[in-house]
Symmetry: C2
Subunit: 526 residues, 2 copies
Amino acid sequence: MAFTFQINNNVEFTHDEKLLKKAKAFKPVLQHTTITSHKIVKVTKNADELGGYGVIPIAKFNTSSKPLKKGESIILDFGDHHVGHFSIHIDSVGSPMDAPLTLRIKFAEMPIELTQNSTDYKGWLSSSWIQEELIHLDVLPFELKLPRRYSFRYVELTVVDTSPKWQAVFSAPKLETETSVNTKNLKSVKITDPQLKKIYNVGLKTLQDCMQTVFEDGPKRDRRLWIGDLRLQALADYATFKDTTLVKRCLYLFGAMASKDGRIPANVFTRPENTPDDTFLFDYSLFFISILNDLMDFEPDYKVLNDLYPVAKKQIDFALTKVSPYGELKLDDNYPVFIDWSNDFDKTTAGQAILIYVLKQFINLTNQIGDDSTKYQSALDVISAFAKHDLFNQDAKLFISGPKQEFNIASQVWMVLAQVMSEKENKVIMQTTVSKLFPVKNIATPYMYHHIVEALFVSGLKDQGTKLLKQYWGKMISLGADTFWESFDPDKPNYSPYGSTLLNSYCHAWSCTPVYLIQRYLLAEE
Amino acid sequence: MAFTFQINNNVEFTHDEKLLKKAKAFKPVLQHTTITSHKIVKVTKNADELGGYGVIPIAKFNTSSKPLKKGESIILDFGDHHVGHFSIHIDSVGSPMDAPLTLRIKFAEMPIELTQNSTDYKGWLSSSWIQEELIHLDVLPFELKLPRRYSFRYVELTVVDTSPKWQAVFSAPKLETETSVNTKNLKSVKITDPQLKKIYNVGLKTLQDCMQTVFEDGPKRDRRLWIGDLRLQALADYATFKDTTLVKRCLYLFGAMASKDGRIPANVFTRPENTPDDTFLFDYSLFFISILNDLMDFEPDYKVLNDLYPVAKKQIDFALTKVSPYGELKLDDNYPVFIDWSNDFDKTTAGQAILIYVLKQFINLTNQIGDDSTKYQSALDVISAFAKHDLFNQDAKLFISGPKQEFNIASQVWMVLAQVMSEKENKVIMQTTVSKLFPVKNIATPYMYHHIVEALFVSGLKDQGTKLLKQYWGKMISLGADTFWESFDPDKPNYSPYGSTLLNSYCHAWSCTPVYLIQRYLLAEE
């Protein structure tokens, strides 16, 4: 994810070398596979695909391309989404090469990226994320190996300039894939519903391509360990690859680099060295506890718990300072709650729900480690009581949020996930949500959709959950997704939060969760 | 030089491995010096400098630049023209680096290049020669070492994009120079006239920067061994560095790769392997003989002569097939004579003169090797007689050229250099040239100016020769030249044969000849 620019240059951070050493010990060795492209495609208008563009094959790519003159280009299709390094052999034909070759190489996850000119980009996010290189080669033949890693299915090669005397010829395009996991040792999963099966497989590829030396949010853009993505990736990983070492590595990275006042930052960098970002989000800091608790649920590791429990405790202690004596969470702009990219709805109640959700998980950890949970139990009672008595509207059967007493989906979803009300009440809340607040509008993140679907499943509305899952993630596939996207609003499929789809990440961690949702709520019973 | 696009794909070439082996044996080891920049400059309007632009220093460059945000740039001044590799250390300051750095690096020989946008270039020569790179760096700090060689004095660093959270900082800019000769062992030359001294030094630097693994025409553009440049570079080299090995290497390269019909191509490539270009010029092929003869004049090497005499002979034999029984040279478009870039004057008589000029040199070689020169002496007589009787206008005291009986400077100059007439007549011809055809108009090459100045010296008009030398080369210096230019018309200083000064080569071999002219015609007598 990348949605906000907080600049908090003055925040001081801890840098716990002992924990960082453990993070390093869990660093995976990346795995590589070399694949090639056999297909030249062209972009065509296709109303059924994302942005109205798809590709059709126009030629086989056998040994080499036809010679390309100034201004000519070809698009190679590698058949599926991959993350890795690109190389290609380039030679000249015709008269001797009497000028350098200027070559533009553009990498695209989706065809729509190939229809846009990078020089036209005027969005707010750095244009330096655009996966495009301009290269001068003085002497051909040359084996071009690009040093950077890209996330792509398509590669467009454009001969920007040669001279009238010779042309460029391309051969042996190679993609050396990079990921920390492979699917070879995965048990095959039996899913009878063909659409669900497709959704599952695309989710799995999404997760795999985001699993690198950390759980990255998106291999094309950000390429970074965000805690919001990590929480969902870890759940998806337990349902599939079951690689707990990468989860532990990421927990240690966050645990080692909290701010001096105790808060876990929203994301950390690992290159050139481990560095915390100066961005803080209330819910993201708290989710450190969730991730630790989910790990203990899946495969208990008391060493990890012992190491990181003090860090977890600081998150909850800091969060509780934001709660009034009456149990009301009161946040300010310096430590906002994320919930979703959209700022068109009030997030107060959802924030309160997340605090309850995490507080319960923390008490669980406290009990496991044998710490005294009395204080936290009391806090939970007060905060839950405020939610029940002051935020729930008995008539509407919905939670309200904010000074305008707004009904919104996020409040219901998180209060249900936090299990503030009884099982029966939760079902009614979600039924009411479906009847009064559906269809979902103005939500563009698979992150928020994940929580809506999970709340439907948790409250027993399995059909509604399955329907929404198919509608949302299935729609991406029908629009051409090989991996699931960072951002998708079914009502505005071409929407980009960045002002250009060139910057959209079409393989994004927080959208991989159908593997988890399907395994946990649908397959368990199949 | 680069002035024409001949495409003769069907020409077959010899590839004499024995001669190529000798060329390889003479390949020099390049010499390197590391220099740094201490000065940040900005481009300012200056009516006295080329194109109306100069630079003024705005800050010292000490340890590092001030942090640069998106869109900001600095220009580093390395103090003089150099050829070599550039490296610089780049770091980030501010919040952690949350997006790649996009950096544009532009190399310029002259300030005017910095005022032009490469994307506006629409000229006919390949834009791939523009010395500009667009680079993405994922992780800072980074020691950026560009793999390509550039020819420059100025480096403009532009931060195309970062993110609002951090800025880029540059430090330790380095230029590792590259040339096959150094000036350390050169005897100092006493030149009392300060302007001539300056012209000499700039000519010396021009020659030095063009001396690489071959005599290059220009280190910025073409970067290639052209025979027209080589002839003048060799003469300049004998007057200064006296490095005959590089001349021999270049002679062997040409000698090894003539076309199957015997003609020496106008230029050859040496990377990735030795390859002749498919461009042929009548005078350039013949100048192979001149270069061999000039070498024998300077420092006789009978091994080289024995190896290359057969190749030289083929040039003259082929040339003589283009001569009528009455001694008239008749050329066609397939094998044109160069003389100068300009096609605004008739070149017939100048071509005839060059044939005479070279034929005399060939007879000289024939005598040295002990071959029978009777045939060539007869040819010389007939061709000279045609020139004297059919091309010289006794009334005007000038040679005519072409069907329109045009008087032009090139005809007089080359007939004088070829010594077709007596010493006395030559003086009259050049006096008439000065009074009737001067000032020189519409000549933009130092190559042609060189021959005009030399003809003035040769015919005894030393003051006129010195005056023109100072006017022409001195004017380049007053316009800001650190090295002499490929192209310069004093009446149109901003002229570019390529439609943009971005493509002009401001350090070009064929303009270095003042060192030769001064040494031979002015210093010998001082």
